[in-house]
Structures are given as structure tokens and as C-alpha cells.
Symmetry: C2
Subunit: 222 residues, 2 copies
């Protein structure tokens, strides 16, 4: 058993509300956080700017921005010219789903973790107020962790990787309350699937609706 004295962790950071809260939690739990963000052919690059602000504000050991090409084969309203729905939640898996996105993000996080000898990866997936994406469920995360420990030196050498999902069972309101306790400045975060050219949120897509409703509820409870 190798001892990881400095408690380093890789934290996936999109610049949204959930990942900002996840980073604050990992930080509070005593991990030295290495944030990982992606440029993946999103419609707008405002996400990366939000991620940089959040990483700076909460404090990270490093912040890697990795370029990957998820637009090469299309298949999502977030990377293609498919229109983002603005009329409330659909049934089933929505068009904003990016094929295998969390699998791809976690795989890169796994490579980063191995390279810096970290054994802990944080991702802000949430199975409660989620948008119907299959890769936001606990059973997916468990299967990823099992696979990760067969894929890597760390796993083979008996010093396994843990995928942490601190938001998994929290409602959006609970996530925001937890973040506010930890001092997260949500004005830095960006959740919108389809922001205007100037970076302001559309206020009508699923992500905006969930966020705005939860923020309103938190404010009304105080």
C-alpha cells in the first residue's frame, strides 16, 4: 500500500454550478485539487472562462484545459446546429445529451490521475434534478470505477482509484445551500446550454430552468 501523503485529487470542472460546488467540497475535504476542463467544440467558450474564475476563486494546485474533439461525429445539440429546446423538459433522453460525454471526461481524468499519481477523482454528477442523461447515475459511476481499477497501474498494484460523486443524491436546492455554506460565488458559474453572444444565459433551456428555480427557492427560504 502506497501512502498518498498530499491527498491529491483530479476534479472535473465545467464552470457550471454543480462542478463548482464539487470542487469546493473536495477542497473542504482536504484534497489538493487538480482541476480538469475541456474545450470540446461547445457552442460557446464562456464555460471555460467560468471554469478559470471558479478554479482561481476556490484555489487549485493546477488547472489543465484539455482540447478534445467531440464535434467530429456530431450527435448533440450542445456541439451541433441542432436547436436547444426552450419549452420545458422533454420525456426521455434530450437532444442536449452529448454521446458518452461523462465516460470520455472521466477517462481523461483517469489518465491525468495516473500521471500525477492521484487516487481520487471528483465529478459533479447528480441523479436527482438531472436531465435524463444515463451517464449521471450511480450505477454508471460504480461501473466506471470497477473498469478504472482494471485499466490502470494503480488498480493492478492494489492501490485503487475512487470516483467521488458528492452531489449524487442531492437536490439542486441542497447543492446550492451546500455551496453557499462553503463560500461558492455562483455568479462566477455558467450552466446555460445556449447562452447569448455576450455570454448571458438564455434563461429558457433545461439547465437555466433548473438553476433559476433552485436559486429562487433558496432565496425564498432565507
Amino acid at each position: 500500500m502506497i501512502c498518498h501523503m498530499d491527498n491529491r485529487a483530479v476534479v472535473l470542472l465545467s464552470g457550471g454550478l454543480d462542478s463548482a460546488t464539487t470542487l469546493a467540497i473536495a477542497n473542504k475535504d482536504g484534497f489538493r485539487c487538480h482541476a480538469l476542463s475541456f474545450e470540446y467544440g461547445q457552442r460557446h467558450n464562456i464555460e471555460i472562462e467560468s471554469a478559470k474564475k471558479v478554479a482561481r476563486a476556490i484555489g487549485v494546485a493546477s488547472h489543465v484545459i484539455s482540447t478534445i474533439d467531440l464535434g467530429a461525429w456530431g450527435g448533440s445539440a450542445l456541439t451541433d446546429d441542432i436547436e436547444v429546446p426552450k419549452n420545458g423538459e422533454d420525456d426521455g433522453i434530450p437532444v442536449t445529451y452529448v454521446p458518452a460525454r461523462n465516460t470520455i471526461f472521466l477517462s481523461h481524468a483517469l489518465g491525468f490521475a495516473e500521471a500525477i499519481d492521484a487516487r481520487d477523482i471528483f465529478i459533479g454528477v447528480n441523479a436527482v434534478d438531472y436531465s435524463g442523461y444515463p451517464d449521471c447515475r450511480g450505477e454508471f459511476i460504480e461501473a466506471f470505477q470497477t473498469m478504472a481499477n482494471l485499466a490502470t497501474k494503480a488498480g493492478v498494484e492494489g492501490d485503487p482509484i475512487t470516483i467521488h460523486v458528492p452531489l449524487l443524491e442531492l437536490s439542486k436546492v441542497e447543492i446550492i445551500k451546500r455551496g453557499l455554506e462553503l463560500g461558492v460565488d455562483y455568479s462566477m458559474t455558467q450552466s446555460c446550454y445556449d447562452p447569448h453572444q455576450d455570454g448571458t444565459p438564455c434563461a429558457r433551456c433545461d439547465a437555466c430552468r433548473l438553476r433559476d428555480a433552485a436559486l429562487a427557492e433558496v432565496i425564498n427560504c432565507e
Copy 2:
């Protein structure tokens, strides 16, 4: 159960001997193959040129070359300035191991498969004459497939993804014999970890040693 009439498959194609043989097998088995290669900060780009030649020669429905950044955090002799060993095989996991590489490659293949509505992914991993990489073993592939079917629309909708590993239990000699039967032109392939500037193989790294010994054995047997 949705019927996939055109039998489309995603085939990971590095331009090496194993992936060329895998593509030929998938093609022979009646799949319409969509090849996927990566530019991932390799030392030399000759791999991509080999992949293009092989894809053209065997015949594919499409060939996507995806740019991903595996060099951002280092950790391997294949992407860093670490010297590639030339003195025979080491014990344990060698420095040419790229952290989580097959996990990352398969994750992107999974996204591609979902986007084109394919249910079959081929990868040329091999557990016999392999170089000690943990992500070349059957148990890793099985765990990946389990995870993939929890991660994706296809899996959730009961029409699962299969990860095919036709070379898993073959020796290098058996792989080459199978490829020759299928008409693979191995002069197009590129296996070397550290080719010279002009693209010729070093003939001394692990990959060259395994390849050259197997080719010599096949020739001597004929």
C-alpha cells in the same frame, strides 16, 4: 429491439499491425467499418499516415481522425521526452505505457458509435504477446463493456454495445497469419514506438522486437 440493418461498427485504427488486422477481420465479418484514429501528441505522426493508408486499402465507410490532448499531463515515453527503452523487455509496466490510453480511446469510440447508431466497437488489444499494459486484458474489456451499457442511450434502451477483441487470445504469429489470409499489406503498417525522422522503424524498441520476431517466424514457417 432495434435492428441495425447496415451492421455498422467503429474500429479503432492506430496504423499498427494489430489494428490493421482487426479492421480486416471486422470487414470480413460483414461490418461496415467506421475507422477512428487519434492525434494525441505522439512523438511522430507517421502513425496517422499509416492509418490512412490501411483504411484506404482495406476499405472503410468513413475514417475520423480525432485530436485529443494526452500530453497535457505527461506520464509516458510515447508523449514525453522520456527515453524509449531499446534493450529488451523490462519487468512490470513499461515507461511506454500511456496512462489510461485504451480507456480514453474506447470512450471516444463509444461516443462515435452512439452518434452513428452503431452497436459494435472493435479494438486490437492482445493479451498474449503484450507489453504488460493493464488495459490490454480481457477483464478490462469486459468491465468497459458493462460500463458502456450503463453510460449510453443504447444500453439504457436495451440494445447493447459489444466490444469486439478478435486478437485477444492470438499470438503475434497467429495475428500476422490471419492478416495475410485476409490480404493485409503489413508494409503499410507502423508499430515502432520511436521511429527515425524519416519514418523508418528503430528496430530496437519492444514493439519493433515483437513485430520483427513474429514476421521472421511467419516467413521461416512458409
